[in-house]
Every structure is written in C-alpha cells, then in structure tokens.
C-alpha cells in the first residue's frame, strides 16, 4: 500500500544543512499498522509529513497503491492519505465551527459543500450531530481529537497518518480514542502509520514497529517481539527499559 525508498530530508543548505531523515526505506501492506517510535528530534514526524505531502524538501521515492507520488500532489493523490495531528487544540481553527472544519476537506476537493456528510461523520466517531454548530473551545480535548479523526476520515482515505494522536490526552480518554481508531481500521480496512514516543501505545496498536534514531531506523520489532520484550539493538533496549519503569 505504501512504499518508501531512500527517503532523505535535508533542511537548510551548504554548511548550515541539517540532515533530518537519512535514506530510510520501508513498505506497509494494506490493512497493516506500522509504528514508528523514537525520541523528539529523531525525524519520525518528518517522515510522516513527507508522506502526507506537507514537506517540500524530500528526495527519494514515495508510492501509494503502487503509484509514485511527487512533492506536489493532485487532488486524487491527496485523497489517498490523511493526517491526524498531535494537538487537537492547535489543529482545529478556533473561529470555525466544527461543521465548517469537517466540511472543508470536501469543499477543497471540489466535491460539493460537504454539509450533508457532517452529521454522519460526527456520529461515526461517537459524537452527537448537533456538535456541528459548536466551536472547538466548547469541546473537551478527547472530543476535539475525535473531530480531528472525523475530518481525516471524511474523504474516506485508505491511509491514515497518525502523529502522536493521544499524547495530549488523559489515559482514560486515550483508551477511548485508541478504541475508536481500532474500530475504524476494522470497518474500513485502513492502513495506519502511527508515530509515537509511547511504546505501550505503539505495541497496543501496531503489527510492526520501526525504532528510529538520528534519522535512520535502527531496529524493527514485530508484535511478538514487543510482547516478549525482545530487542535487536542497544538503543531500542534503552528505550524499552525507560518506557516500563
């Protein structure tokens, strides 16, 4: 479903350049959930942003569904992958009502005004339809993250890119959001890439985990490895030990 080869991201130029992602390659099959874990600054979010088409400075090749995509995406390419961001406070426009925020992807894809699908999208993520007339500040953090997920799903993309979707939430709310994501994945046969620094969230959601350090993948762990606590590199061992006190 997703194939990435030799992805390189460099910010700045000449002597001031910062090589953030160094030639990473990976593939994700349909319906699979891939986790990427690492410290802040290791480049995990940059990989995700490159996949979403938000990053302009990458080289290498990215293909969705067997078709290579470029830096500038067409509408059809954008519809393939949608992103959910970490902070639900920052990713929703504070002066737009929830309905406007949800209808916007449809409007910007030129597929009508989108209002007819707002109620259904809200109900799918377990929110009442009358929330469409509310503003983001009238919602709790968990409800806002549900809206962000609804907005990502409204174009029915086969791929969902999740950048720390629950790290701003309480554990009890985190459980609700993770359950929602798991249900949607089952219902729509979605492919996920989940970026997080929390190994317990990653191991709950993912079939396979890549451990990232300084822009490269240093380890790959399967679900069985995570359960048994098996690691293949010293860095992932450290990360593992630090996560479970």
């Amino acid at each position: 479903m997703i194939k990435v080869e030799n992805l390189d991201v460099v910010y700045g130029s000449k002597d001031k350049s910062n090589h953030v992602v160094r030639g990473v390659s990976f593939a994700v099959s349909r319906g699979e959930t891939l986790g990427i874990v690492g410290e802040s600054g290791c480049g995990k979010s940059t990989v995700l942003r490159s996949l979403a088409g938000l990053e302009g400075a990458w080289t290498g090749s990215i293909s969705f569904n067997g078709k290579p995509v470029g830096k500038v995406r067409t509408r059809d390419e954008l519809k393939l992958a949608q992103m959910v961001f970490q902070d639900p406070y920052g990713s929703l426009h504070p002066r737009h009502r929830i309905g406007t925020a949800l209808a916007e992807p449809i409007r910007s894809m030129g597929a009508g005004d989108g209002w007819t699908r707002v109620a259904e999208a809200l109900q799918q993520v377990g929110l009442p339809a009358h929330f469409a007339s509310r503003f983001p500040h009238e919602l709790s953090g968990g409800q806002r993250q549900r809206v962000a997920i609804a907005r990502a799903l409204i174009l029915s993309p086969p791929i969902l890119l999740l950048d720390e979707p629950t790290s701003a939430l309480d554990v009890s709310i985190q459980a609700e959001v993770l359950n929602l994501l798991a249900d949607q994945r089952e219902e729509r046969n979605l492919t996920f890439i989940l970026v997080s620094h929390d190994l317990s969230v990653i191991s709950h959601m993912c079939d396979r985990v890549l451990v990232m350090q300084n822009g490269v993948f240093v380890d790959e762990l399967t679900r069985q490895d995570l359960q048994a606590g098996v690691t293949h590199a010293s860095y992932s061992r450290e990360l593992f030990d630090a996560s479970f006190l």
Partner: protein
C-alpha cells in the same frame, strides 16, 4: 539514613477549594499527611491534583476560596501566614517543580544567573560564592559541563536539561517539602527515568518530603510509597500498591492503559456512571 523524627512535614485536614461563590468545589475534603517520604497524587485532568499542590503553596488566585480545618507545615498553620511570610517559605522550605521548564525558566536570563539567584535569596551567598554554589548544584544534577551551561540561555538547552536546571534551582536551598507537578510530562521517555531518579536521590539525601503529582499511575506507583487517587476533587482511595486498588475509578485508570505484556483487542474505558454512584452514594 533513617529519620527518627516521626512528625509529619505537612498535615492537611479537610482542604476545600472553590472558585467563585456558588460553584462546584475544585477540591473537597482532602486530608493527608506527608512525612519524610514520597507520596503521589494521581488523577485525570480536572481532578484537582494540581489545585491541591497550589493550595499548599498558597499560589491560587485571590478569588479562589481555600479553607481547611488544618493545613500545617512543620506544625505552623500555612493559611494564617501573611503573604510576606509565605514569600520566605516558598522556594526555601517548600519548593514547587512545574511541568515545562520552557515556561518556568526566565527566557532572558542565563541559567547561571537564575540558579545563583536561588543561592543568593535562600542561602545568603554573594557574588562569586553564589555562582560557585550554582555551579556545584548543576554538577550535582549531573550536567556534564556546568561551566558552559552557566552561561547558556534556556532556549539553548534541551527539555531534559532544563528540568535538571529547575531541580537544581529548587533543591539548592534543601527544602523540607518538594511538590513536583508533572515534572516529567513534557520530557521524552528516555530522559524521564533519569530525571525521576535524580529527584528521588536528592530528596532522599536532604531527607525531605516529596509530593509527586502526575496522571501516570504506573510511574507514580514505581516511585512513591503511598498514592492518593483523586477524582472530581475528592481523594477516592489511598494505596501503597497498585494491586490493592479497589475503587472502580482506580481500576478503570489502570485497565485503560495499554500493557504490551497483556495485549487486548479493545482497551477498557471508564464507566463514569458507576464511578459517580460509588463516589456520591
């Protein structure tokens, strides 16, 4: 070194905090004692755990009504102290470590100035002596190159290092009570453990009491002797081990956390109706 002094550092009975006159109490009837030990306060956001910490420091705004049958710090009532007396206590005897070093350090002063200020204020050190003490304290919190760090500004250091600087600043005066409000939530998992170990080590060394406020019940359980679980302003349970949890809220919180060793298809979510019934019979 075990301490023979059994009197609690802080003793709180029936602490109530409300904002505005007829509003819902943010904290209601909270009672606990802190000896020379580590206790943890856990709960969701809005459960009143930080408000409790701030009420002890008397840092809540004027409009907050704080009442308590007793709130004694080393046998003297905190609520009767004047603002001036509180100023003498804060930082010297009771220290508060906040969540994000990026917001709690002054962005326009160097680290050296800020840590030395603590030495000047609380230890009466001056000039070069204050800077030397700041340097020693930075070395104590395992900052590798303290001389270099002294001249840096807060934006030039990492979050983990910033939190070490905060700990250095706060523990320089050897306070008798340390309140750490989510000290590691803004940090990466890999540095989280180091910072907690460091805090633990220094608190033991000074033989002071520690109140660790956090939403992460497992982390708190690993570090503290006793855990107070708060829900909507009340302490619903006091535990010494997670396995003893009996209240549905505590059990719900523990079950809501994904555990890689015991994978489940769906995580348990809190059944808030039954918790309400249990807490307000």
């Amino acid at each position: 070194m075990p301490d023979l002094d059994e009197t609690p550092v802080l003793s709180v009975r029936d602490l109530n905090v409300r904002f505005g006159r007829n509003s819902i109490p943010a904290v209601s009837n909270v009672s606990f004692d802190v000896g020379r030990e580590r206790i943890g306060i856990v709960g969701e956001s809005g459960s009143g755990k930080s408000t409790t910490g701030r009420a002890i420091m008397r840092l809540l705004p004027q409009r907050a009504g704080v009442t308590a049958e007793r709130m004694d710090f080393l046998d003297s009532p905190l609520l009767e102290k004047t603002e001036r007396q509180m100023g003498g206590l804060r930082g010297k005897d009771i220290a508060l470590i906040m969540q994000d070093p990026r917001y709690s350090l002054n962005p326009v002063l160097t680290i050296g100035k800020q840590v030395a200020e603590a030495a000047k204020l609380h230890l009466g050190a001056r000039g070069k002596d204050a800077v030397a003490r700041a340097r020693d304290m930075l070395a104590r919190v395992r900052i590798n190159d303290p001389d270099r760090v002294l001249s840096l500004y807060p934006h030039q250091i990492s979050g983990g290092m910033g939190q070490r600087v905060m700990i250095a600043m706060m523990l320089l005066a050897r306070p008798k009570l340390v309140i750490a409000d989510e000290p590691t939530s803004a940090l990466d998992v890999s540095v989280r453990k180091d910072v907690l170990m460091l805090l633990d080590e220094l608190v033991r060394e000074n033989n002071s009491g520690l109140i660790l406020i956090s939403h992460d019940i497992r982390m708190v359980a690993a570090f503290c002797e006793r855990i107070l679980v708060m829900y909507s302003g009340r302490v619903v349970e006091t535990l010494s081990r997670l396995e003893d949890a009996a209240h549905p809220y505590t059990r719900g919180l523990i079950a809501a956390m994904p555990d890689p060793k015991h994978p489940v298809r769906r995580l348990k979510v809190l059944d808030r109706k039954s918790i309400e019934v249990e807490t307000n019979p």
